[in-house]
Symmetry: C2
Subunit: 202 residues, 2 copies
């Protein structure tokens, strides 16, 4: 994979340099998805994928750490958006919780590198986005409690356990190959029900 593979992009007009930032982040996600590891997201690899040279990135990111941080923030934001989209229009809070949980796990398994970036990197600069993802999950657990469908007495705590368990499911399923894993949806439902203490509708 050399720069020959990707045709050199057309230079942006003066004042439109900001476009490059978006294109760069898209390119960085492509590298992350294909390589499956954050270490592969180097300035050189991202630049080559975006059809520019590495030094051009310094116009938009302080350094490689800043790029990774920005990538992690985006990953959380997109995960939150995907969860919202999956649960849109769903009125039953338990269904909504299940759909959110499924989205988190399905995306994690599809793009392990992205999941690792979110859940194994210690990076205060992009933690706020992570906390928002978590807060939304807690809110949904809370709505289950309000609807009498969860026996949880501490939705924040149980939401944390749930996120941890789903997170671990992605990791373990990705890593422990050769294990006869049950169907994904079933796993997610079981774990969600047990951790969030879901009770049957009256």
């Amino acid at each position: 994979m050399t720069s020959q593979d990707t045709p050199r992009r057309r230079r942006n007009k003066p004042g439109e340099g900001g476009r490059l930032r978006e294109e760069t982040l898209v390119a960085a996600f492509e590298v992350l998805h294909e390589e499956g590891a954050v270490e592969a997201v180097t300035l050189r690899a991202v630049a080559a994928r975006a059809g520019i040279t590495a030094p051009a990135l310094y116009g938009h990111f302080r350094d490689v750490t800043h790029l990774h941080s920005e990538l992690r923030t985006r990953a959380f934001e997109q995960l939150l958006d995907a969860c919202d989209a999956a649960a849109e229009g769903i009125t039953d809070p338990v269904d909504a919780l299940h759909l959110r949980a499924e989205t988190i796990v399905a995306r994690g398994i599809e793009f392990p590198g992205r999941h690792l970036l979110m859940f194994t990197r210690i990076d205060d600069a992009s933690n706020d986005a992570g906390h928002r993802t978590f807060d939304r999950l807690v809110a949904v657990v809370q709505s289950c409690v309000a609807a009498g469908r969860s026996a949880s007495t501490d939705p924040a705590e149980d939401g944390a356990y749930l996120l941890a368990a789903l997170n671990g499911l992605v990791m373990t399923r990705t890593t422990m190959t050769g294990f006869p894993w049950p169907a994904l949806r079933q796993s997610v439902h079981e774990i969600t029900r047990r951790i969030a203490r879901i009770v049957d509708a009256p």
Copy 2:
């Protein structure tokens, strides 16, 4: 950190080269624990820590991948030993399960690099050791069922969920800083009880 920090080790006697292998793995774990990431476990870093030069490692490992593989196998074996030691002499199967779970999580939080090596690396060569750790956990869940202390109808499946959840707890607790996590033991007990479907003693 240069080779000056660690005094040059005494050369092993002919026929005792095998000792180096053990010393090397100990040194590799030290690097892994201190740096917290597998990428930091380079041949050069391990050699410097062990007080030898990098090429000397080729007498014992085919390449750096082989060293990482061996390290992962050892990590799983040591985790299994630690779980066994923690549960030794405990007759109540639920207590034993809790102690095993606590051991997994406590060690993971103490040495995140080690945990990441075990649970985020895809490496068939060292998966057997991982499966043994998992099998033992399943056996303990099974003994809970046999004692009428777990409502699990599929200990293998629930054991997988439990390992995943504990694994995720380590990751999430390590990564999501700033969250008011409950006491570790309490978290582990709650998650274990819910996932393994523990019921109160009659």
